[in-house]
């Protein structure tokens, strides 16, 4: 892997590991990721026995040159955005490990697991209360939003 930057080296390793041993219900679009190592799509199935059982979602990861010291930009894309109190209809996710609580020791896999677990603990499918306003006014990049993490129960 000579000639790769430390960030690319780590992404390459993460990709290999995800392809070889994908966590249950997850699949990385490896063709796309190999074309552009900084933009991944992950297909994710709603966990069994939860409100999202049987649904399929797509997560997009954008990595900057400072990854993993800088957090990746993670959003839901495609035509099925999960209806969840922490997921806006434009795909933005309010999850503290994606901004303030990001640590370079976290990975794509751990972020995906956190998101599945966030979906799984949901008791009622609904959009965030400020969805309409947020979607109209927010920056394209969810990392530019100053999130207020006021409820970690779901």
């Amino acid at each position: 892997m000579a000639g790769l930057s430390p960030s690319e080296r780590r992404l390459q390793k993460e990709l290999m590991s995800l392809m070889k041993e994908p966590p249950p219900g997850m699949e990385v679009d490896s063709d796309k990721a190999e074309q552009n190592l900084n933009l991944w799509t992950i297909h994710m199935k709603g966990a069994e026995g939860t409100l999202y059982d049987g649904e399929e979602f797509q997560l997009q990861f954008k990595f900057g040159p400072k990854y993993p010291f800088d957090s990746p930009e993670v959003t839901f894309i495609g035509n099925n955005i999960p209806v969840h109190p922490h997921v806006y209809s434009n795909g933005h996710i309010c999850l503290s490990i994606l901004t303030d609580d990001w640590s370079p020791a976290l990975s794509v896999q751990s972020v995906c697991l956190s998101i599945v677990s966030m979906l799984s603990s949901c008791k009622e499918k609904k959009r965030p209360p400020d969805n309409t306003f947020y979607v109209k006014t927010c920056n394209k990049n969810p990392k530019k939003t100053k999130w207020w993490y006021h409820d970690d129960s779901v």
Binding site: P6, R9, R10, K13, E14, K66, P68, F69, D70, I97, D101, S103, P104, A105, L106, S107, Q109, S110, L113
Partner: protein
């Protein structure tokens, strides 16, 4: 007190030229000596510290505590920072409270607990640790940041035992310092671990001098900012801090020459107190008076709500908004139609309601006028103070010119002294108007206003005198007069301040809310 009469007596008094001013100069010169850092005017002791001295002071504070608590200096430093560098408070909690809790609150691992008993405080990765160790050959570990096998001697971590390779640590710290501007509060790189990275570790792992310098700045800044006994000199481009023995609203003078109030950092503002000055500055900065003006001088069109200022005597208003053009009565804001041409009065309205509305407007108007009165005078002295600072330059020229004639250096210093006093008087006067704005009328406030008037009159005379042309013939005469005037100003200023201070002690000042 009649100021002119006072002047007369003073002139008679100072008939023989005393040398007291010269002595005054010697004292001042000593204070300007850079070696003499201690300023003992009025027994308020303070030191001016350069950046290097601040760092040294920080080290001394740590040492002082360390002699007693005997824990690693880096831990002491984090504890001290947690207590905003209040040594007594730290000691109290250290010996009287729950130490485990204290260390947890300050986000350090208890250095007294034996290392062997420690487990990583939180699991740092979601992938299983067992898998990592299984794959690792002896004497190497996988770094959970770069996912690379690294020889164990290149892996490092804090007391929480979360280990990463030195290169990743360096990258992590650099990002925190340079991109996020964090210094004292950088946590361990492991997810969910809040243990703080100490300064020695940062300096060991970061080699780039630019990053190290920024880090030093950040921690020095947080040391000064959270330490009650320290304050940065507010003057732009000055890197000194002032250190005091106890916090008090007192003037301090930085080595750069800037004089300010230690308690609030504003220019020295005697006689008004910090809290009122703060309110005043806020009032001047925000738009409260703009809205007061709008309330006092305008009404809204009853139809389109556009704001209208009345500029003539006639009460028959026609809204100038081209899409509105409604006609209404300024007095009652009702439609103009029923007012008709034959009778003009708005008595068809509830008298009480009308009175209330008028009363509210009147109060707004009065409040605005009152504010403008004090604000104008405050601003005026501020402006004059700026001009007087220019006066120093012209006075310097005059002093040189005089020395070419018959006077010695020491003999011409009275001019500089006069400008010094003039500036002091302007500054005091400026803040007397802030004080007066909040002051409720009583007997003492009347005396205060008399003192203010006398000082103002004397100050204006001195100012006028200093702007005069000084020619060779009247030199001796002028010196006499200038000296008399500035001595009188200084006296009036001191009397005014004394009276206000006495009022503080006797609690005779009552304020408007």
């Amino acid at each position: 007190m009649d100021s002119d009469e006072d002047m007369e007596t003073f002139e008679v008094d100072s008939g023989n030229e005393s040398s007291s001013d010269d002595i005054g100069f010697n004292i001042e010169d000593q204070n300007q000596n850079p070696k003499d850092r201690q300023n003992d005017i009025e027994e308020f002791v303070f030191n001016v510290l350069s950046t290097e001295e601040i760092v040294q002071h920080m080290i001394d504070c740590i040492k002082e505590v360390n002699i007693i608590v005997e824990i690693p200096a880096t831990t002491t430093r984090i504890l001290l920072n947690h207590f905003k560098w209040d040594k007594e408070k730290l000691m109290e909690r250290y010996y009287d409270g729950d130490q485990e809790q204290l260390f947890a609150e300050a986000r350090v691992i208890n250095p007294l607990a034996s290392r062997s008993s420690q487990q990583p405080s939180t699991s740092s990765s979601m992938s299983s640790k067992a898998k990592v160790s299984r794959r690792c050959p002896p004497n190497s570990e996988e770094c959970e940041i770069c996912f690379t096998l690294i020889p164990s001697n290149l892996m490092t971590g804090l007391e929480c035992n979360h280990r990463f390779c030195t290169q990743c640590w360096c990258e992590y710290l650099t990002t925190k310092i340079m991109a996020e501007g964090m210094g004292q509060t950088i946590a361990c790189a492991a997810h969910g671990c809040n243990i703080l990275v100490d300064d020695a570790t940062v300096m060991r792992l970061v080699r780039d001098p630019k990053v190290r310098l920024k880090y030093q700045h950040l921690i020095t800044n947080s040391f000064v900012e959270c330490n009650r006994l320290l304050r940065w000199c507010p003057s732009p481009d000055c890197n000194n801090a002032v250190k005091v023995q106890h916090v008090e609203a007192h003037p301090v003078t930085c080595k750069c020459g800037h004089r300010f109030c230690f308690a609030c950092g504003e220019n020295w503002h005697d006689p008004v107190r910090c809290s009122l000055l703060k309110r005043w500055i806020k009032k001047c900065d925000d738009d409260s008076e703009t809205s007061n003006w709008i309330a006092a001088n305008t009404k809204e069109c009853p139809k389109c709500n556009v704001t209208i200022e009345k500029d003539g005597g006639c009460n028959h208003m026609v809204c100038k908004n081209q899409s509105c053009k409604t006609e209404f009565c300024w007095v009652c804001l009702g439609s103009w139609e029923p007012h008709g041409s034959s009778w003009y009065s708005c008595n068809r309205f509830n008298e009480e309601e009308a009175k209330e509305a008028r009363g509210a407007q009147e109060r707004s108007r009065a409040a605005l006028q009152r504010y403008l009165f004090y604000c104008n005078r405050y601003m005026n002295h501020m402006q004059s103070l700026k001009f007087e600072n220019k006066l120093y330059a012209s006075v310097k020229e005059k002093m040189e010119e005089m020395q070419h004639h018959c006077m010695s250096w020491i003999e011409v210093q009275f001019l500089k002294k006069a400008v010094d006093i003039l500036c002091q008087c302007r500054q005091t006067l400026m803040y007397t108007y802030v004080f007066a704005y909040y002051l409720r009328k009583n007997n003492q406030s009347t005396i205060f206003e008399d003192n203010q008037r006398d000082l103002e009159a004397a100050t204006e005379k001195l100012s006028e005198y200093l702007e005069r042309d000084i020619t060779n013939e009247n030199l001796a005469n002028i010196k006499q007069q200038v000296q008399d005037k500035y001595r009188y100003c200084d006296l009036r200023r001191k009397k005014l301040l004394e009276h206000v201070h006495e009022g503080y002690e006797k609690e005779s000042w009552e304020y408007m809310d």
